[in-house]
């Protein structure tokens, strides 16, 4: 069973009436995801590709039984939209939007914890479960294959690349989660690893990390003590200069902390196989059936 996604996932799209929202809602539906509602304030009554649009999340939940949301709401309004979705009791909220102010994200994450919701993102490609044919986000449909590898990543394109390589190597995926490239994410690597460790459908784990913060070091400590499944990792930014933001808001080495070297060493010491380049993750997981 996919991690984090509720039984009978019914998805609401915040910002369905926008270009991105409409396009990706179609892609999600083609993947097999039930898209039951859209929410755009002031657009109640509009129907997008057969999906009814509501003014508020509460109404949409009431009318359609939605239990998860994907948000494409522009950054200045993203916090309000997220708090509304969490307040309406949605179990999972995937925030695709990039450039949300970090204080807004902290408020979203704190409110989600208070209400028991899971936030994936922001600035993320979303979550996909190939076997269940569920995708909440913008990951390309055709790269997936059902299988036993759990993938957790801070990057979008690198995730696509690695999932594509895994599928090509005959290694399907149980759940693929992009936690996002911002300084603050709703889900940490450690939290996702904990879910993968508990998930019977996940037998091996791939981590795609990058410079900045200590999510990988925290994950290494968690793996050392709590994870028995084999893990392989790739860390981007091995040659990145300090004090420069490398594309992602969270990808920055500050005051000597958050280097790729520190992350790779910590993970290696925890028994994780380290890939020298992204697609090597597939080869490392194909060989190692046990934690090294």
């Amino acid at each position: 069973m996919a991690v984090y996604l509720p039984e009978q996932t019914r998805v609401l799209v915040q910002g369905l009436t926008g270009h991105q929202g409409a396009f990706h809602a179609r892609q999600m539906r083609e993947f097999g995801t039930p898209i039951v509602a859209g929410v755009t304030p002031g657009k109640a009554g509009v129907v997008v590709d057969g999906v009814p649009v509501f003014d508020t999340v509460a109404e949409a939940v009431e009318e359609t039984g939605a239990n998860a949301a994907v948000s494409f709401v522009p950054a200045p309004f993203a916090k309000d939209a997220a708090l509304e979705a969490i307040d309406a009791g949605l179990r999972v909220l995937v925030i695709i939007t990039e450039h949300i102010p970090v204080h807004d994200t902290m408020a979203i994450a704190a409110f989600a914890r208070l209400k028991g919701s899971i936030v994936v993102g922001p600035n993320c490609p979303g979550i996909a479960a190939p076997k269940e044919r569920l995708k909440l986000g913008i990951l390309p449909n055709r790269i997936f294959a059902p299988g036993e590898v759990g993938v957790v990543s801070r990057s979008g394109t690198l995730t696509y690349e690695i999932v594509h390589a895994l599928s090509a190597a005959g290694l399907g995926q149980s759940t693929v989660i992009g936690v996002g490239g911002d300084a603050i994410s709703g889900l940490s690597f450690s939290e996702v690893l904990s879910a993968f460790q508990a998930d019977e459908g996940t037998k091996r784990i791939a981590i795609v990390g990058e410079i900045g913060g200590t999510a990988e070091e925290d994950a290494a400590e968690f793996i050392r003590t709590q994870v028995t499944k084999p893990v392989a990792a790739y860390i981007a930014g091995q040659t990145a200069p300090p004090e420069k933001r490398m594309g992602h808001a969270g990808a920055i080495i500050t005051r000597g902390r958050g280097t790729a070297m520190s992350k790779m060493e910590a993970l290696k010491a925890a028994g994780v196989r380290i890939a020298a380049y992204p697609t090597e993750v597939a080869a490392l997981l194909a060989h190692g059936a046990r934690k090294s």
Binding site: P101, F111, G156, Y160, T214, M246, G247, A251
Partner: protein, 369 residues
């Protein structure tokens, strides 16, 4: 976005935190009066100003002019000094550290304080630092201030002043969308005033839209980085000479790493992001041309981005203005065959993998001597 000290102090003052009296000059001639014994401080982003001679003291107008002149001639950490802060010299009794950062793991602001101010907080012993997370949905609460003052063993009027400053700084941190707000040192003067001796503030550039008065302060971006940002292209100028264009921050970083593995050195980090916009691709090539690379390496994995759109943008921009250096490309994913065909028509052969492309790019660079 980092703020220079004088701008940071301006924000502190706006939030009611005492700072020394002072003003900014850009030449010794601007200095016509010295109302008090002064500290003359270089306004640069680099650390280690004091050691580099960027902080001086003057008692007289004549000495102050000399000091301003000397400081303006300095280059500190690669930054030429253009502005000097002339401010009232504080009679220091004690120096504290007070700072707020964002703790990414805890997803919350972290308040830090120490009696050992005036040196970098990294150099202070763990047990001498007070740390407390502030719940994001609440302001700094009075009980938290009491814990802070208990740790610092500050009482009476001084304790009250430090507590008030901590609360004001915590409010500023949220209200101004700060990522870092450090007062180091927070000075207790001989007459028991508490004043911010320095201010190190970094604001969230993603929140500038709600601080229009700060929007012109992006002083830490180069002109080219600023130009790229306007097109929503993430661009960083690097030391090497292989120009890298890729899509997605992670993939772009991974491409730099592959170049490093093959013994080369990247000259740019240029992340196109997800794009269906020909203009963005064209602007990317115009920007990379300015950096004068010896080889350009393009690495595209088409997830949402379509390879043929990117290839068409490249064809158009190179027809306008051919590249004088070799272009090595790798394209995989959505519409990859069409993308490769388009590149073939302009004489660019694609590599089978990112690794091979990086190897080829480094080889072409090295063959130029």
């Amino acid at each position: 976005m980092k703020l220079l000290e004088h701008r940071g102090k301006g924000l502190l003052l706006r939030h009611g935190i005492p700072v020394p009296r002072g003003f900014v000059v850009r030449s010794p001639e601007e200095l016509t009066d010295l109302p008090w014994p002064a500290a003359i401080k270089a306004q640069v982003f680099a650390g280690g100003r004091g050691k580099a001679g960027g902080i001086r003291f003057a008692e007289s107008l004549e000495d102050a002019k000399k000091a301003v002149d000397a400081v303006l001639k300095l280059e500190i950490g690669g930054h030429a000094v253009r502005e000097v802060l002339v401010e009232e010299r504080l009679p220091i009794q004690q120096e504290l550290y007070l700072g707020l950062v964002i703790d990414r793991s805890a997803r919350a602001p972290l308040l830090m304080a120490s009696l050992e101010g005036g040196i970098e907080i990294e150099a202070v012993a763990e047990e001498a630092i007070f740390r407390m997370h502030l719940p994001p949905l609440l302001a700094l609460q009075p009980y938290q201030v009491r814990r802070l003052l208990g740790f610092l063993k500050l009482t009476g009027a001084t304790g009250r002043s430090v507590g008030e400053i901590a609360q004001k700084l915590a409010k500023l941190f949220v209200a101004e969308d700060a990522e870092l707000a450090e007062i180091n040192p927070l000075v207790i003067t001989k007459d028991r005033m508490v004043v911010a001796g320095d201010a190190k503030l970094t604001l969230d550039s993603d929140a500038l839209y709600r601080h229009p008065d700060c929007a012109d302060l992006s002083e830490d971006l180069t002109a080219l980085e600023d130009r790229a940002r306007r097109k929503d292209i993430a661009f960083v100028q690097l030391e090497g000479d292989i120009g890298v264009i890729a899509n997605g921050a992670g993939l772009t970083m991974a491409t730099l790493d592959l170049i490093g593995r093959h013994g080369g050195s990247a000259g740019t980090f240029l992340d196109l992001g997800g794009t269906d916009d020909l203009e963005k691709v064209k602007e990317a090539f115009r920007i990379i041309r300015v950096t004068k690379p010896r080889v350009v390496l393009l690495n595209i994995f088409g997830g949402i981005t379509k390879c043929d759109t990117v290839a068409a943008g490249i064809r158009d921009v190179l027809e306008e203005h051919p590249l004088e250096v070799p272009l090595v490309a790798r394209m995989q994913g959505l519409h990859e065959e069409r993308g490769r065909e388009i590149l073939h028509t302009i004489g660019v052969e694609t590599a089978a993998s990112a690794d091979e492309a990086a190897k080829r790019a480094v080889g072409l660079r090295n063959s130029q001597g």
